[in-house]
Symmetry: C2
Subunit: 190 residues, 2 copies
């Protein structure tokens, strides 16, 4: 195996950055090659199926993995505490992560069935992990799953509306207040 396996990863990294920043259609193979510092022909050597294969590679490495966020909330001793910690972790997500999520939404219609399945699988795993963590506080598994879904929806909705659409720059609603409200509410239905 060649010493420069890095070149392929290098290309994917650059492509990912440009795809997320400008969109798949607005990014040309030429542009990617220029940033990488090679010619288009070299790029087609690494990705025989061209731009589409490049997109596949980017999609696979761009699907966000949030599982570790759940683990960071292990110290919580009450449901309310857990939701506050979890919510703060989610809302403190690296802006890059939010960008990735936004991009997954924009490119979803272009994905193949397998790519969609991969995305669904990762998202379900995340949801299940959150539900499992909630079972420390919520005995009914179905209710734990519903609660997990509700929390995740709220967090993602906040990300899309307030971060991706930058609503946070024009409203005075405090994100910590939203988390507190949710935590109190979910804890109160127990």
């Amino acid at each position: 195996m060649p010493e420069r396996i890095n070149r392929r990863d290098n290309i994917v990294d650059v492509a990912a950055k440009l795809f997320v920043q400008n969109g798949y259609d607005a990014t040309s193979v030429r542009q990617i090659a220029d940033v990488v510092g090679v010619t288009e022909a070299a790029l087609y050597y690494h990705f025989k199926d061209g731009k589409r294969e490049l997109l596949e590679a980017v999609i696979e490495c761009q699907i966000p993995d949030l599982l570790n966020i759940v683990d960071e909330c292990g110290s919580a001793e009450t449901l309310q505490d857990f939701i506050v910690q979890f919510g703060q972790q989610m809302m403190a997500l690296n802006p890059k992560r939010v960008e990735k999520l936004r991009w997954m939404v924009t490119e979803f219609p272009r994905m193949t069935a397998e790519e969609r399945a991969l995305l669904h699988h990762k998202q379900l795993a995340f949801q299940n992990r959150v539900a499992a963590a909630l079972e420390r506080f919520i005995s009914d598994p179905t209710q734990a799953r519903t609660t997990a879904a509700a929390i995740i929806c709220l967090m993602y909705g906040y990300g899309f509306l307030f971060v991706s659409l930058d609503l946070q720059s024009v409203t005075d609603v405090d994100k910590n207040d939203i988390i507190q409200l949710l935590a109190q509410g979910m804890a109160a239905t127990r």
Copy 2:
């Protein structure tokens, strides 16, 4: 004024459909002209500034107006009832509406400052209307605003995750359960 003011609207309608379906970059002026049934030159007569002006027109008419949803919940007599009704209205939104929202997220980075301001203005108006409706049940205005933001985030998050990303096809979490849970929780913090 000419009898065919319709032609301009006609073009915007077609452009909107294609932009939402395939994205701005993946839609060519030629394609729009073909569907409308005119030539590109005719199109440039109506939109002197070309494709970008077309996008402006589409953005303006595509920003969703959800204000009437709030009015439909006037019969609710408790906070819990209101949230259930509101949530069901939101989740029953025409799939076309969800598509529009998805599209706004995808094209946001391409928007000018004025276009973003227009979007923010409409979204804030919606949020304020919901908060105002909530003041029937929540006396503290700040808490009403926070509650409104939380509900809206959850609904939008559901739309993006479960509808736009089609997570609803692979999970058994019931959307009515989510609404019920939220309604109980928000009502319990009173």
